[in-house]
């Protein structure tokens, strides 16, 4: 099995990015608009009651959570649609019959989905600076979390895209699982603000760890330690990779 096919990976990556450009409104304008609304609603309404959290102004405090919220939803939807759509239209035959390893296909699709959600997260960050003051204490860690979480959830989205047999299933996990977990994961509050029982419950929510680590990279404090956050993110990536390796080995829902 000699010879890699970087040209093929690049071809898919480019085609996926072009798809984004084609649908520039849904891809970029929609998340930016949503974020602006969050600022108006949460920042404006709640921010007038909660002045600050852990010494950070409330408006600034929610920025990492908002970015994380869009990274999770965008990564999952980009990656799942990226692979589901060719399955749906039949164009997947071309990918399956190309001289491309499954790892290369994953790199291309997941890479494109992760790139897109990182770009959107950065656009949201830029939008946020128009409303509130944002400080980034650990830019390198911020970048690391941005990349790792985008990749992790793009992998997860890719798995959903392979698993889904129809559009309902495609939307099911994001709406029923990810969005609730994200909202309850401390996007808009610190879990320290919750009663002790709910604090404990929150620790079972994986999204808490992601948001906490990300917020730490901005303001130097999180709900759990940054090492735990990082460890959790890496574990999630490994689990997704293992699942994908199994999927490709048995051809599950890809090759009849």
């Amino acid at each position: 099995m000699k010879g890699l096919n970087p040209g093929g990976v690049w071809a898919i990556y480019r085609a996926e990015m072009q798809r984004t450009v084609r649908t520039i409104f849904q891809s970029v304008a929609a998340p930016v608009l949503t974020t602006a609304l969050y600022f108006v609603v949460f920042g404006g309404a709640i921010g007038s009651r909660i002045r600050e959290v852990d010494g950070v102004a409330y408006g600034s405090f929610i920025v990492p959570g908002l970015m994380m919220l869009s990274i999770l939803t965008q990564s999952i939807s980009n990656a799942s649609i990226g692979i589901y759509f060719p399955k749906f239209t039949g164009t997947i035959f071309e990918i399956l019959s190309a001289p491309l390893s499954s790892t290369e296909a994953v790199i291309a699709y997941v890479g494109a989905a992760a790139t897109k959600s990182m770009i959107i997260a950065l656009i949201i960050l830029a939008t946020a600076t128009l409303f509130v003051q944002v400080r980034i204490d650990h830019p390198l860690w911020m970048t690391a979390f941005l990349v790792l979480v985008s990749v992790a959830f793009s992998l997860f989205g890719f798995i959903i895209g392979i698993w889904a047999k129809n559009f309902e299933q495609l939307a099911m996990i994001p709406t029923l699982v990810v969005t609730p977990l994200t909202f309850l994961g401390g996007s808009f509050y610190s879990i320290k603000m919750l009663p002790p029982f709910w604090q404990t419950v929150s620790l079972f929510n994986p999204v808490v760890y992601l948001i906490s680590g990300f917020r730490w990279s901005f303001y130097g404090q999180g709900d759990v330690s940054v090492v735990t956050s990082l460890g959790f993110t890496l574990t999630f990536i490994v689990v997704c990779f293992a699942a994908l390796a199994w999927i490709f080995r048995v051809g599950w829902r890809l090759r009849p």
Partner: protein
């Protein structure tokens, strides 16, 4: 030189439990035009899927240009261009973009001159900046062919290339197939129609119920298939064939009311006029006559009957 395609004991059982390929052995030489002939559901598309890496095989082994399609899949797939039975295209991409995408997907460096020639040959050049969604069905089919040839494969699979295709496209397609053959490209096509196999192929394989029933040179097969039957409706039933026709390949059917004669339509002397003369001399009257060509169905009946 290894055969272009070499299948040994290829079997495919789908998740439904259905056995679509049941031990296929098949060898196709480099530079051949090979027609795979078979009725609906025979397993043609499944076999192509297995060779091209779209369908996982349950058992057996496939080599493409000597490369195992599982172990050495890169080299094997590099050699293959596939035009599937169903049109499947990214409808928002332009013609040029989607064809170039296919070429890059196979890791080939860009070659605008080749792509231009290909698109011109398929009458797509004027449409190169059009989005696929704006094309007619026939043009989409041409795009599928251009994509399959974009990386200059050594073997081209055409899965039912002429289904729903007009005369122009059919003619262009056959011209293209001949050009490819002249360049040494192996072409494998599937079809339901004997005529199509007759027109294009060097060799013909017949598949049914997941088994290859026969593989033969077109000439030999056409001799078999070229058989015609003459059927005479007799005025009065005969108990036995007339003395004068002893040793002729004739048979009485329908309680002696019809007489059939099998003959080779391609031969100089079909014997039909002699037969009719002898019958007249023997005083056998008939009310009607018809001749029929043996159809694909007849051949299957023959083949399956012969195997049983």
């Amino acid at each position: 030189m290894p055969p272009m395609i070499h299948c040994v004991g290829v079997a495919k059982r789908y998740a439904t439990g259905f056995l679509a390929l049941d031990g296929v052995d098949l060898s196709i030489e480099k530079g051949e035009i090979f027609a795979l002939l078979g009725p609906n559901g025979a397993g043609k598309t499944t076999l192509i899927g297995v060779i091209c890496g779209i369908v996982s095989m349950t058992a057996g082994k496939v080599l493409v240009a000597g490369h195992d399609v599982r172990r050495d899949y890169r080299a094997a797939r590099q050699a293959i261009g596939l035009v599937p039975q169903e049109i499947a295209l990214d409808i928002f991409a332009t013609v040029l973009a989607t064809v170039s995408f296919s070429r890059r997907l196979f890791g080939r460096p860009s070659d605008p001159a080749y792509v231009e020639r290909l698109l011109k040959e398929l009458s797509l050049w004027d449409k190169r900046h059009a989005r696929v969604v704006e094309l007619s069905g026939g043009m989409k089919r041409r795009v599928m062919i251009a994509k399959a040839l974009s990386h200059q494969p050594d073997v081209l699979f055409l899965d039912e290339p002429t289904a729903g295709v007009d005369v122009n496209l059919r003619r262009d397609m056959w011209a293209l197939v001949r050009r490819l053959r002249d360049e040494g490209v192996t072409v494998i096509l599937t079809t339901h129609y004997i005529e199509e196999a007759e027109e294009m192929a060097d060799r013909v394989g017949v598949i049914d119920k997941g088994r290859i029933l026969l593989v033969e040179d077109k000439g030999a097969l056409m001799r078999k298939l070229g058989k015609r039957r003459l059927t005479l409706r007799l005025h009065n039933p005969l108990a036995a064939p007339p003395e004068a026709l002893a040793g002729w390949p004739i048979a009485l059917e329908d309680g002696g009311l019809s007489l059939t004669y099998a003959f080779d339509a391609a031969s100089e002397d079909t014997g039909v006029s002699t037969l009719l003369k002898r019958l007249a001399e023997a005083g056998v009257d008939f009310t009607d006559l018809e001749t029929t060509k043996s159809s694909l169905e007849d051949i299957f009946v023959d083949l399956i009957g012969g195997a049983a």
